[in-house]
Amino acid sequence: MVAENTSSPISITLRVWRQAGPKQPGKFVDYQSANLNPNMSFLEMLDVVNDELTTKGEEPIAFAHDCREGICGTCSATINGKPHGPGVGIATCQVYMRSFRDGDIVTVEPFRARPFPVIKDLITDRSAFDQIQQAGGFITARAGSAPDANATPIPKGDADLAMDAATCIGCGACVAACKNASAMLFVAAKVSHLGLLPQGQAERDRRVLSMVQKMDELGFGNCTNFYECSAACPKLISHDFIARMNRDYLKAVIRSGLSPESVSVGGSA
């Protein structure tokens, strides 16, 4: 798939999903894009195509993008069936045209999932992830002056593992790549990065229960252990976190149902 590093220009046929709005029917439209510098990024190629469309008085292709350096999680196209296109551990903005061969037909679709409705063309509404975060992806922290740097000891291994989970940029590629449109990798990353740290312990059970409940409510699918999610993840977050979340969930369910509760009454006047 990945071409030799070259400077000879290439031409491709771009087959893009065009959809004017959320309720409008969509369809694929082919655009010839000739004389492309192979070292331009995929999004720059879309910019070039959009320039040409604008000049011709046509509607440019709407696509989501922001930082263009793989850290914001905004860009989101599915290129030739793979979210974020060819390559491993990168976002769409980090795909270069040298990954394609001269004469290729490149199919570009939005991320497909019921909880990610299409807004326009390649742009989807991924606010379902925000709702899952709001359900429990936070900690209760002491406000005020900054705490002493080493006041809370954290084993290096735990800190590193928590950081691996925290690299999630919330792009939604896991959902898009999953054959079942499951959000388990995203939720697992968010549950684990706080659950691994001492600061996250107070809400640990409540967090996993609430976030999973919200994920289910929003209509995401269920994990069947295909591990497509972690392969498509631009941060290569491991599906080991899904196992960790399953374990956390089972423990939380047992504790919430069976562990003793205080019988003290009072307050809440």
Binding site: R15, W17, G26, F28, T78, N80, G81, K82, T107, E109, R112, A113, R114, P115, F116, P117, V118, A177, K179, N180, A181, S182, L209, V212, Q213, M215, D216, G219, F220, G221, N222, C223, T224, N225, F226, Y227, E228, A231, A232, S238, H239, D240, I242, A243, R244, M245, N246, R247, D248, Y249, L250, V253, I254, S256, G257, L258
Partner: protein
Amino acid sequence: MNFVGSLFRSSIGRKILMAITGLILIGFVIGHLVGNLQVFQDPDHINGYAQFLRQLGPLLWVARIVLLVCVVIHIWAATVLTLENKAARGPEPYAVKHTIRATLASRTMRLTGYVVLAFVLYHLAHFTWGAAQKDTFKDNLKHYTMQHEYRFAGFPVVNAGTEVDDVHSMVILGFQNAVVSGFYIVAVGLLSFHLLHGFDSMFQTLGVRSSRWSAGLRTVALAFCLVYFVGNLAIPGAVLLGKLQPRTASVAAAQR
């Protein structure tokens, strides 16, 4: 939230039910195979074993009900989860279908599951209910007289001289039908394939799998499935090749 309710209502809960019922069913198929491989020994063994299982009486029914409940929950959870998965993709499917690394076994779980279900029903009709291949069903074969006592886990459970069903002949006569044996071999092959993903998945769902030992787990799953398939293949294979012959006089009578 109620503990049992969470297992039945939530996505992860249903997956945990899939894993636990799958674990029980894997345990059953291992025991079932080990019991059946006694067909290669003297007819006293498998016939005594079958008689021993019958003698369990109510305990046998407890086991049967547990297995039936497991099968029902396993199929129910699979159905509910699959319908949700289909709905979750949304109104428009991908135009380009691309698989990065999902294994063939994992992507065919539903199809292999259908074949296994059809096989289990035929298998019960064949050897338990006597609805299929009636003329070689144990009720229609002459009783077998135990030559020696049968011991289970060191305890004598069936005495010598007891008149028992001739399961040994039933199995061999049943598998002499090449179509039945062929279906059986294909079905256990697909069951082994189903277990290849199921065995591995169970550890992930129950939250004990990690990439530090997942390669080893994968190897163990593959070895288990191969051994399980070869063990199951051995019985109809040996019958078809004529290596296993019915050995009692009752059979000669039945064949006439």
